[in-house]
C-alpha cells in the first residue's frame, strides 16, 4: 500500500521561496534581504570598501603623506594608478586612508546619535506623559535647524576638528532616531500582553529588554543605515569647508576640497573621492531599502 501512493503524497516541504509568512525568525529575514539584489550587491561592495580601508597600510603602495613634488598632479601612470595630487601624493593611497577616516567619522556620528536618541526614545515611548511631550518638543526644535548649519554653529562654539564635527552631527541626528524608537516603543507598549505584564508588576527593564528592544531594533537598523549615508555626506561637506578633518590627514571630503583647487588642471582629483563617497552612500541607502523591505513584514505585523 504505502509503496504505491503516487501523487497523493504531499511534497516533503513547502517550496521555501514562496512560503507566505515564515515568521519573525532570522533565516526568513536573511533570505528576504539576500533576494533583494541591489541591497545584497550593496552589502558586498560596502564590505569590500570597509575591508580595503581597514587594510590600507597593507594594500597601499605609498605612505599617505609621502610627498613627491616632481611628480605632482600626474595622471594615471604605472607608478600611480589614479595619479597624484598637488604635492605629488599618491591618490590611490590617500583614497584608502581617507576611507578609514570618513567611514569612522560617519560611524562615530551615528553612534552618538544612537546613544542619545534610542534611550531617550525608549524613555519617551515607555513613560509617556510630560516626559514624552518635553522630549518630543526638544526634538522638534533640534529638527528646525538644517543639519549642516547647526553643526557649523556648534563648531563655531567648540572650534573645528573631526571630533567636534562628529559630535555636532550626532546631536543633530539624534532626534530622528528618537522619533523612530519612540514610535516603535509606543506600538509595543500598547499591545495587550505588554499591558498585562506591566499590570502584574514585571519590572520595566525586563519588559524593555524582552519585548520592546527586539521590536525597536528593526526600524532603528533601517534608520541607522540611511543615516550613515547622510553622515558620510555631511562629514565630506564639513571637511570640504575645512571644518571637519584638518589636513594633512585625508578624508574623502578633504581630498575633494583640495582637489577642487586644481580642477582646471587635474579634474581627476575631484573625480575619485566623489566616486568613493557616492558608492558608499549609495550602498548605505540600498542596504537601508533592503532592510526596510526585508523587515517590513515584521514591522507591520507589530501594528494591530
Amino acid at each position: 500500500m504505502t509503496t504505491t501512493a503516487p501523487a497523493a503524497t504531499p511534497p516533503p516541504a513547502a517550496p521555501p521561496s514562496s512560503a507566505p509568512a515564515p515568521g519573525p525568525d532570522r533565516p526568513g529575514f536573511w533570505r528576504r534581504f539576500r533576494d533583494n539584489r541591489p541591497a545584497f550587491v550593496a552589502l558586498v561592495v560596502l564590505a569590500v570598501l570597509v575591508l580595503a580601508s581597514l587594510a590600507a597600510p597593507l594594500i597601499a603602495p605609498y605612505a599617505p603623506e609621502a610627498i613627491d613634488v616632481p611628480r605632482r598632479l600626474s595622471l594615471s601612470t604605472p607608478d600611480h594608478w589614479l595619479g597624484t595630487d598637488s604635492l605629488g601624493r599618491d591618490t590611490f593611497t590617500r583614497l584608502l586612508y581617507a576611507g578609514r577616516v570618513s567611514l569612522m567619522a560617519a560611524a562615530l556620528a551615528v553612534a552618538i546619535a544612537t546613544a542619545v536618541g534610542v534611550p531617550l526614545g525608549l524613555l519617551a515611548g515607555y513613560v509617556g506623559g510630560k516626559v514624552d511631550w518635553l522630549l518630543g518638543r526638544a526634538g522638534d526644535v533640534l529638527m528646525t535647524f538644517p543639519a549642516i548649519i547647526l553643526a557649523i554653529a556648534i563648531i563655531a562654539a567648540t572650534g573645528p576638528g573631526l571630533q567636534n564635527a562628529m559630535v555636532a552631527l550626532g546631536i543633530v541626528y539624534a532626534p530622528r532616531l528618537f522619533r523612530v524608537t519612540r514610535a516603535a516603543t509606543l506600538q509595543v507598549r500598547a499591545e495587550t500582553y505588554v499591558e498585562a505584564s506591566i499590570s502584574i508588576g514585571t519590572p520595566a527593564w525586563k519588559i524593555i529588554a524582552r519585548r520592546v528592544l527586539p521590536n525597536v531594533a528593526s526600524p532603528v537598523l533601517v534608520q541607522v543605515s540611511v543615516m550613515l549615508a547622510a553622515a558620510l555626506l555631511a562629514e565630506a561637506a564639513l571637511s570640504l569647508l575645512g571644518l571637519g578633518v584638518v589636513p594633512p590627514t585625508a578624508s574623502w571630503g578633504v581630498m575633494l576640497g583640495s582637489g577642487f583647487k586644481e580642477i582646471r588642471s587635474t579634474p581627476l582629483l575631484v573625480f575619485w573621492p566623489g566616486v568613493a563617497i557616492a558608492v558608499a552612500t549609495l550602498s548605505f541607502n540600498l542596504i537601508g531599502d533592503g532592510l526596510r523591505d526585508a523587515l517590513g513584514r515584521r514591522i507591520r505585523k507589530a501594528a494591530p
Binding site: T144, I152, A153, I155, P267, A278
Partner: protein, 314 residues
C-alpha cells in the same frame, strides 16, 4: 483655512521663541571663558574685557538672553564682534543670494522630481520606470557638492556655457542672475528631485488605480489633465511633506554650494564668521535660517489644507 492657519501659528510662534533661546544658548558650548575664546588670537586683557562687556557676559544667563531677545524682537540681532557692522544688516544683505539659490534649486527639484515620478508611475515596470528608479537612487546618493564640481568642470571650464563663480542680483540683470545660479541650483536641486521623484512615483502609483481617475477619463478629459490635475492633487500630500524636509536640507546645502561657486549668501557669511569666531554673527545666521525653515514648514502645513479638504475642515 483661517482656522488651520491659526492652529499652525499657535505652534510656530512658541517654536520661534524656543529656537531663539537655543540659538542664544549655543554660547554655553564655548569651552572655558567665552570672552577669552572669542577675543581672537593671543588677546590682551583689554580685548577680553571688551568682548565680555560687549556680550554682557557678567550678567546672569537669562538676563543676557533677554537683552539679546528683546533686541531680536525689534529686528536688532546685535553687533559683529570684529567690525562695526550690525548683524541684521549683514544678514539681510546676504539674504537675496541665498533665497535666489534656494528657490531656484527647489524649483528644479519640484519640476524635475514630479515629472520623473509621474512618468514612472504612468508606466510601471517599463524601462522608463526602471531608468527613473535607478536615477533616483543615484540622485539621492551622489554628493551635491561633487555634482557642483563636475558641473563646473563640464559647463564652465570645458564648455564655458555658464560662469563658474559669482552672483548678479536679479534686480540688476535677470538673465545674468539666472546664468550665474543655474549650475549651483542644479547641483543643489538634483538630490531633492530624486527624493521627490520617489515619493511622487509611490503616491501616484496608488492614486492612478483609484476609481475617480477612471471617472475623470470617462468624462473625456485628456490624459494630461487626468494625471496632472485629478491624480496629482491626491498624491500631493506626501510629496509636499518630502518637499518640506528636503527644503530644510537644501538650505543647509547652500553653505557648501555658496563656497564652491563664490556666492555672497548667508552660508558664506556663516562660513567666514565661523572662522573669525564672530559669534553674534553666527547666531544671527542660525536664527534667520531656523525662521526660514519654520516658515517653510508652516507653508507646507497650510498646503495640506489645499490638497486635502478634509484636513481644512476638521
Amino acid at each position: 483655512m483661517l482656522g488651520l492657519l491659526a492652529r499652525r501659528l499657535a505652534f510656530t510662534v512658541p517654536m520661534l521663541v524656543v529656537v531663539s533661546f537655543c540659538v542664544f544658548s549655543l554660547i554655553v558650548l564655548v569651552p572655558g571663558d567665552p570672552a577669552v575664546a572669542l577675543a581672537g588670537e593671543n588677546p590682551d586683557p583689554e580685548q577680553i574685557a571688551a568682548v565680555r562687556e560687549r556680550l554682557g557676559l557678567d550678567d546672569p544667563f537669562l538676563v543676557q538672553f533677554w537683552h539679546w531677545f528683546s533686541g531680536v524682537l525689534q529686528g536688532d540681532l546685535g553687533q559683529s564682534l570684529f567690525s562695526s557692522q550690525s548683524v541684521a544688516a549683514a544678514v539681510f544683505s546676504r539674504l537675496p543670494a541665498t533665497l535666489s539659490l534656494a528657490l531656484l534649486s527647489l524649483a528644479v527639484a519640484l519640476v524635475l522630481g514630479v515629472a520623473v515620478g509621474v512618468l514612472a508611475a504612468m508606466r510601471p515596470g517599463t524601462w522608463i520606470d526602471r531608468v527613473a528608479t535607478f536615477a533616483a537612487s543615484l540622485g539621492v546618493a551622489v554628493p551635491y557638492f561633487w555634482v557642483g564640481m563636475i558641473l563646473v568642470l563640464l559647463f564652465a571650464i570645458n564648455l564655458t556655457i555658464f560662469p563658474a563663480v559669482g552672483y548678479v542680483p536679479l534686480t540688476e540683470n535677470p538673465l545674468q542672475w539666472f546664468l550665474h545660479l543655474f549650475l549651483p541650483a542644479t547641483a543643489l536641486g538634483l538630490a531633492p528631485a530624486a527624493v521627490i521623484a520617489r515619493q511622487t512615483r509611490a503616491g501616484m502609483t496608488g492614486v492612478l488605480r483609484e476609481d475617480y481617475v477612471r471617472t475623470a477619463t470617462a468624462k473625456g478629459l485628456p490624459p494630461a489633465r487626468v494625471v496632472g490635475q485629478h491624480a496629482l492633487k491626491n498624491a500631493a500630500v506626501p510629496v509636499v511633506t518630502a518637499f518640506g524636509l528636503e527644503a530644510s536640507r537644501l538650505i543647509g546645502g547652500t553653505v557648501v554650494i555658496e563656497q564652491l561657486f563664490a556666492l555672497p549668501g548667508l552660508g558664506n557669511l556663516a562660513y567666514t564668521s565661523v572662522f573669525a569666531r564672530d559669534f553674534p554673527m553666527v547666531q544671527g545666521v542660525l536664527l534667520v535660517v531656523a525662521a526660514l525653515v519654520l516658515l517653510i514648514n508652516l507653508l507646507v502645513d497650510l498646503s495640506y489644507g489645499y490638497f486635502n479638504p478634509r484636513i481644512r475642515q476638521s
